[in-house]
Amino acid sequence: MIISENTIKSLDFQYILNMIEPYSPYGIKKKKKMRIFKPGEEEDLLEELNKVEFFLKHKKRDEMKSILAHFKEVGESIEKAKKGYVLLTVELFEIKNFLIQVNKLIDAVNADLNSERIKFNFGEIELKKMIELEKSLDPKKDRLNTFYIYDEYSKKLINLRNRKRKLKREMKEEKEKIKEKIKQEYDLNLNLKDEVVISKAEKDLIEKIEEGTYLNFSSENYLNHIYGLKKTEKIHQIESKYDEMKSLEDKEEKRIRKNLSKLVAGSYDSLKWNIETVGKIDLVLAKSEEAKQTESTKPLVVEENTLKIKKGRHLKTEKFLKEKGNQYTPITIELSPGTTCITGANMGGKTVTLKMVGQVMAALVYGLYVPCEKLKAGLRNFIYISTGDEQSVERGLSTFGAEISSLKKVLEIKEGKGLILIDELAGGTNPKEGYAITKTIIEYLNEKDSISIITTHFDKAAEGEDILKLQVSGLSQIDENQLKDELKINPKKGQEIIAKYMDYTLKKVEENEVPKDAIRIAQLMGLQEDIINKAKEIISKTD
């Protein structure tokens, strides 16, 4: 796998993926199978990015979103029709609505054919009008999205329905006549069920009714007799005629539904194409929406093995800082195959920088715009990050164990251009052996095609002229007195104040010694004075 679940988690890349929110069920399905671009697929990636650009610049974006949100799932109905089943009225209604939505989407897309369209194969996302099927689902030609097995489908249907209505009318008339007679004869009104309730006390009336011809005994309880309207021969005739018409109508409706289902089956390929294409458009539109929200830019994809990020941002960290009213410092970094070492102050943002590089590159391989001002990079075969905090309690591995176990897997990948990001390798073990392991791996990775970044606190681990050494600018440039004053006023806000004065940018350095800032930072953070002094004492002795 080019990016593992763990890497996605460590990079906070899910944060970006969550911002891609397709509107239709088809787009949601497409998102689940989002393509990852590998080296050699640069042209395809460029096409994808051009599509994103097309929709990003499209004037009808909002209209398209609302059209897409109205799409309903019809995939199942279409499969059913293909297998020869007769579709239900409600399924035909849904297919009709699908076609109407497709038409609306075609109009919206075509309303602004900005020039980006010519930079990719537009045919790949071109929806098909399905005029024949549309016509057959709109027999009234009123272009509404409503549906019924309308009278217009067949003369036979009109005929049957008219006869049904006529019979119903005749039935009502006949019943009214009888009710009128009942009213005259017994002064009784029938209820909606054509029944009348007579108290048992009214013996004379009951006797009269029993002898009469208009009412039938239907049930009794201990208080009442209930009589129902006695059906005359004529009513029986009408009823059976009505039932006959009803069943003929059902048959005719089914015949029509069967024909329509055949037409749906006949359009299977076009419907399938449109379902796929709606999904594609939806996903690309969602990608462009994500690009807009994150102020991402179109990357420059090259075939050469390089990685240059100008002012890259780790989006989740940026959002977190913004919410607290702080600023995120975008980082510029230029990398080439082999190992790059980053050293520098604690709290200097080394880990975030690693994650930022990983996030930008992950966005690239997923065919997204990238969260930086400029990116020029070649595609990677895999992306891997180790942040040293991936304890695996379930597998019973400690930090060190988990770190080594996953590193081993990455080092097994001999070929290909990967991106390997390792934060403080062996930082959790004794410095002597940690140093040895780190130095060896730095040298080992330096011989590979992959681009690797390793952050470390070990002196001389990055020795060697051909290893690129970067250092966090840190607190060195600022007025320490001012910082201390601020800490005095707000002793509990040490972390935030240090963050404010920290220069997170990276500079190229030649020396192999790592800067010694830990005690200073600890002091600024307000660690007990006697401990700080004692630590300084120990340092001066060892020096």
Partner: protein
């Protein structure tokens, strides 16, 4: 005035609720549809949906088939469309989901029987109602329900009709008592204290409010079974207790059974009361004060004297008994005779 005329003029949206199963709700609805046809009133109809296990329309004892006329607009779950014998033109698919499928808006093009299963939650019901008004209708009926968990329809409509049936008890006095109790609950006086109304606009939990209008929110989501917790928060300065949720007999006993305290219980509306009439009347005599934020208008009470358990009550006794306690129209839809004397 005939009931349908009153509804036409005063209840744009109306919910019909039954005090129990088989209390004649469907008959009432069918009666109203029949009446509406006579004065050419164009109706929209939906119902409050049934939750999961109750959705088995096939095995349910009560199968509320509603006879719908041409031109009516209905909103119902997709699956019920297979159970209809009326001709329904499909107008609109919605995003409102129910155990019976998405709500579809349909127009009746051939009269016949339908089963209607509408939205479950109040929010979805309000959405559905809004969609239905887009079509050509004069009045909208909800085959409603009062439920502790799902939507209590009378609150979101302009008023309601209560269907009271013999099913409530073999004893006509009990039927009258239970029905009158509900009528009383729905008609409880509304709060007029502007200060309190203002406070309660922002309160969504049970709370105790004192005479200085300071309030203490109580972490009880529903009043159910939390009587002692509420009681402990009450003291001699308490002016109101706002109960956000159901008011049961045990809770009520707990709250009122405290000497020397002089506060008013406040509820959202009368549908939140689930107490026995006996307890209620008893406490009322002891000086219990209850008010609501919203009074529920009752358009009429219908009675169904026939119980599915095989016994029958005297329709006139039910009507007379209920009328003694209310001014609303009370009649038996089975006879179809609406008295015109009030």
């Amino acid at each position: 005035m005939r009931l349908i005329q009153d509804i036409k003029e005063n209840y744009k949206t109306l919910s019909i609720i039954g005090l129990a199963k088989n209390s004649g709700k469907t008959e009432t609805l069918n009666y109203l549809i029949h009446e509406a046809k006579k004065i050419n009133l164009k109706l929209g109809i939906t119902s409050t949906g049934r939750d999961g296990e109750k959705t088995d329309l096939v095995t349910e004892t009560e199968k509320p088939s509603i006879y719908v006329e041409e031109g009516m607009i209905i909103a119902t779950g997709r699956k019920t469309l297979y159970l209809t014998d009326a001709g329904l033109e499909l107008l609109e698919d919605t995003d409102i989901t129910t155990p019976m499928g998405r709500i579809m808006i349909c127009r009746v093009v051939q009269e016949g029987e339908v089963q209607i299963a509408g939205p479950i939650s109040s929010k979805d019901m309000e959405k559905t109602i809004k969609l239905m008004w887009k079509y050509d209708i004069d009045n909208l009926f909800i085959d409603g329900a009062v439920d502790r968990k799902t939507v209590s329809s009378p609150i979101i409509t302009d008023g309601c009709i209560i269907a009271a049936g013999a099913v409530l008890s073999r004893d006509v006095k009990k039927v009258v008592e239970k029905t009158s109790h509900i009528i009383e609950c729905y008609s409880l006086p509304e709060i007029e204290d502007e200060k309190l109304i203002k406070i309660l606009k922002n309160v969504d939990t049970t709370a105790v409010i004192n005479k200085n209008y300071e309030f203490e929110k109580l972490q009880v989501k529903t009043g159910l079974g939390n009587g002692s917790k509420i009681k402990n928060a009450v003291n001699k300065d308490s002016k109101y207790i706002f109960i956000d949720g159901a008011l049961t007999s045990s809770l009520l006993k707990n709250l009122v059974d405290k000497d020397g305290l002089n506060y008013t219980l406040v509820l959202r509306d009368g549908t939140k009361i689930f107490t026995e009439p006996y307890t209620w009347n008893n406490l009322k005599r002891q000086g219990m004060k209850i008010k609501v934020l919203k009074k529920i208008k009752i358009a009429a009470v219908t009675v169904n004297p026939v119980s599915p358990y095989g016994y029958v009550l005297r329709s006139e006794d039910m009507i007379k008994g209920i009328k003694r306690n209310t001014k609303v129209k009370v009649f038996d839809v089975q006879t179809g005779v609406e008295e015109n004397d009030n």
